[in-house]
């Protein structure tokens, strides 16, 4: 009764409404220079709970985790992205500037999700392995942790393009926001590294090979290399213009996003080649 497809769809609609409210609140709050964090946190909690119910209900109905189709991957990631963002939003006050980018991004993902066919594909027996869980969970952590640096970088780039007057305080704000970007980016890099390791062990255990250059593996490696390149470039060129570093963070998130949602969209199932 609880886990029907209609209930799941309604839950997604409710989540979309709560995120939309949060977007309006954030914009109004910024316009009137009034803090809206309590209301935003409440709406984010509501969205996360509703998405959890949608994922849980689908899990009960299908008897398997949301791992395979683009719909499954998007639904579960929307939930984990919300949850991770909620935690970061509550714990790290300065990252809240990212809400103007992150919340509309969630809304877009929600609209995209609602437009997708929700038919489940059975999980092949070879996929069912504890390393699958570690691979998927570290992947979700990576995406959630890299979203905030990307959003903060986008905010800083928008400030540059908007050519705001170069106030002293604006520079200080930018420096503080920049200070939030790199620890989260580094943490995301660690999660990505573990995702690759766990994925290799999973693939080796399931199919007898740890690497096969399938599209998902290749793009995940390219994303990891791009992150390593940026971390090294910041050491090599200490005077690396901040705008280039921020743009790189946004591009890397774009790469990660394409890896998660673009490649499965083309092949319709992650690691389809080995099924």
């Amino acid at each position: 009764m609880f886990a029907t497809e209609a209930v799941e769809r309604n839950l997604l609609l409710i989540a979309l409404v709560t995120v939309s409210f949060a977007i309006v609140l954030e914009y109004l709050g910024r316009k009137r220079r009034r803090p809206t964090s309590v209301a935003t946190v409440s709406l984010l909690v509501a969205t996360t709970v509703v998405l959890f119910c949608a994922v849980f209900g689908r899990w009960l109905r299908e008897g398997q985790g949301p791992f395979l189709t683009l719909y499954d991957v998007l639904l579960s990631n929307l939930f984990t992205l919300n949850l991770i963002y909620l935690i970061i939003y509550v714990l790290f006050v300065r990252t809240r500037a990212s809400a103007v980018i992150v919340l509309p991004f969630f809304a877009l993902l929600g609209v995209w999700l609602l437009s997708l066919p929700s038919v489940a594909v059975p999980l092949p027996a070879t996929f069912d392995n504890p390393w699958l869980w570690m691979h998927v969970l570290s992947g979700k952590l990576f995406l959630g942790l890299s979203l905030v640096p990307a959003a903060l970088s986008a905010v800083l780039l928008l400030q540059i393009f908007a050519a705001r007057p170069a106030r002293e305080s604006a520079h200080a704000d930018a420096k503080q926001l920049d200070g939030e970007i790199w620890p989260l980016f580094a943490l995301a890099f660690i999660c990505h590294s573990f995702m690759l390791i766990a994925g290799s062990v999973w693939a080796h255990s399931a199919w007898g090979r740890y690497w096969a250059w399938d599209p998902l593996e290749t793009w995940a490696l390219i994303t990891w290399l791009a992150m390593a390149l940026l971390l090294h470039a910041r050491v090599t060129y200490r005077q690396l213009p901040p705008a280039i570093a921020w743009a790189s963070v946004v591009v890397i998130f774009g790469l990660a996003f394409l890896t998660f949602f673009g490649v499965p969209f083309v092949s319709m199932a992650p690691h389809k080649g080995v099924m």
């Binding site: 090979r209 290399l225 910041r234």
Partner: protein, 331 residues
């Protein structure tokens, strides 16, 4: 000499090496055959660069976690390189009741330094069962193998459950099907028994056909006729329960349908259809260094996490509440 090593340790070479791997990865995405060989070039550059950096860069002596991370990274590169030289990768199809024959293995990849001892592996293929759910969704695969010389000890190979014989790992694959057991009684009194494997089943249920030349030199087209697969209910693929017949066509286009136990007289001998069994396709791989690669990679990851933690903690300005919200300076 030291100046040269310092130059080789340049971070700019590191960046070039990483860009090189990205280019190879992109090229491999376009053409999967491209990967492994060309990847060796940027990886070798990075390995030499990393080794030089570990020897000369003072930052490594001051930051032990960073040093451990980079040493482990170097170890991963070297272990994978050695692994590629000694690895073995192959496929084999085994029919129920058939003994494993190392020389029937189709070699996919064999490292230049691989010492072939697969012929020491000695087992017989036991019973194969594959569970299907409604809609012909493949579920569990179970393939029993009986080790020779161990009092008939049986091991089960299945999904995510490989069996290792002498460092060679055997994995079942999705590739499996029917094999018809034939007996050839030659006119000179020689009797031979063997099997003809048909295409993967039930994937190619619609074309269960193959060709075979008898020991007497007669070329035959074989077609296996089976009951249809029940697609709308649970089903188990296993031998001994399927009714079948074998349709044999010779060069003169004479066609005969034989049931189990029936024979047909041919030029230079008699052919008898004996039985129908399952064959299983195995993937065999040998890379004994992989556990060490895993250990080195995990150690690298832990060291990197410790390094970042120390960096961020050191960079937290006074009065700051956030534990990790400091400007990151990686050096």
């Amino acid at each position: 000499m030291r100046t040269l090593v310092v130059r080789i340790a340049s971070l700019k070479i590191t960046l070039l090496g990483i860009v090189g791997i990205i280019i190879v990865a992109l090229a491999t995405y376009r053409n999967p055959e491209f990967g492994t060989v060309w990847l060796a070039v940027p990886l070798a550059v990075l390995a030499v660069n990393l080794l030089a950096a570990i020897l000369t860069n003072g930052a490594f002596r001051q930051q032990s976690a960073l040093l451990v991370f980079h040493v482990c990274l170097l170890a991963v590169i070297l272990l994978i390189a050695v692994g590629l030289l000694i690895r073995f990768d192959g496929h084999v199809e085994l029919v129920e009741g058939e003994a494993f024959d190392a020389y029937a293995v189709e070699i996919v990849r064999k490292g230049a330094l691989h010492r072939f001892v697969l012929d020491k592996v000695n087992f017989v293929q036991g019973r194969i069962t594959v569970d299907y759910r409604p809609g012909l969704i493949r579920h569990n695969t179970r393939s029993n193998v009986i080790e020779v010389g161990t009092n008939g000890q049986t091991q089960e190979i299945g999904d995510g459950n490989s069996v290792t014989f002498g460092s060679y790992r055997f994995n079942t694959t999705f590739n499996k099907g029917w094999a018809v057991i034939l007996r050839w009684s030659g006119d000179k009194g020689i009797v031979q028994r063997g099997s003809v494997n048909f295409p993967s089943y039930p994937e190619f249920e619609w074309k269960q056909a193959n060709e075979w030349t008898t020991p007497g030199g007669e070329h035959l087209a074989l077609e296996l006729r089976l009951n249809p697969v029940p697609g709308d209910s649970d089903w188990v693929l296993k031998s001994g329960e399927s009714e079948f017949s074998l349709v044999i066509s010779d060069a003169r286009l004479d066609t005969h349908e034989l049931k189990p136990g029936q024979s047909i007289r041919m030029r230079h001998g008699t052919l008898t259809v004996e039985d129908l069994r399952l064959w299983m396709g195995y993937r065999i791989d040998f890379d004994p260094l992989l556990p060490w690669v895993f250990a080195a990679a995990m150690l690298a990851l832990i060291a990197l996490a410790v390094h970042f933690q120390l960096k961020f903690r050191a960079a937290v300005p006074a009065g700051r509440t956030s534990a990790i919200g400091a400007t990151y300076v990686c050096d």
